[in-house]
Symmetry: C2
Subunit: 155 residues, 2 copies
């Protein structure tokens, strides 16, 4: 097992979009949903531009030796409930297949938790598909509770 | 059962904050989390101001005959996954106790679904506490699937 001390977490750039989509597509659920083509469909770049303009959303990547090996999206959501506390919503956590089981996902999620706390959140939340049993175990190990049902309506 | 045709869904205003917090607090889970005091703790108003500045979040109320009888928060979340489709996140759905079972919650959620679609979302998602069995049945009736585990980490 390699050390993970060389990981850097930094904001995603436009030229990371291809590798991020590659990680989203390299997954039993993602495979059917993404279009990993060359050139990449422009909808991905339009979405990246919208993300860049959203001041309450951060898309970050984990970089190791110049290569992107993971990603995570964090949204800081203000709201009235819990005495007006913000919530952190974590989405699209992925680690490149050849880099798994080395703590990179944990570093990404711990970064998001720290960032949410620094922004005054009292809660971090996420939805993980019922079939992602390993992911659920991973999040419980990091202190999350499977306290909610994640309901989705797909058009 | 009264008709619900007189319901208007409109953006929440600063002077609705008290009644919204009242609805959030009038709930087994909310009771322990909120501080329904007079005057209301300033943290609620600070959160409302932050919400007003977030261009991708809408806090709306259902109004009937001039009275606020429900609320819902919708965030339109851009993201790279699903070919760069945005997602709608529904939060803090509440209907005043004396107005339940009259379709007001359904009108609020249908508004949010339509708004998410109009903003190009391919998915609407939400977390509902494991104990809210009635809410889960309600969302399934509106077409949602209990497809995910909602994981939370509360500080």
């Amino acid at each position: 097992m390699d050390a993970v001390s060389s990981i850097v977490i930094r904001p995603a750039r436009r030229d990371d979009v291809g590798i991020i989509v590659g990680m989203l597509a390299d997954d039993p659920l993602g495979r059917a949903r993404e279009r990993l083509e060359n050139p990449l469909p422009p909808s991905y770049f339009r979405a990246f531009e919208t993300l860049e303009q959203a001041s309450n959303i951060q898309l970050v990547v984990a970089e190791e030796g110049g290569a992107v090996v993971g990603c995570l999206q964090l949204c800081i959501l203000p709201g009235l409930s819990s005495q007006g506390a913000s919530r952190g919503l974590i989405e699209d956590v992925r680690v490149a297949t050849h880099c798994r089981s080395r703590g990179i996902g944990e570093q990404l999620v711990q970064w998001a938790i720290a960032e949410a706390r620094a922004n005054g959140c009292k809660l971090v939340e996420l939805l993980t598909h019922n079939t992602r049993v390993d992911a659920q175990r991973f999040y419980v190990r990091l202190g999350f509770q499977p306290s909610h049902v994640g309901m989705t309506l797909r058009f």
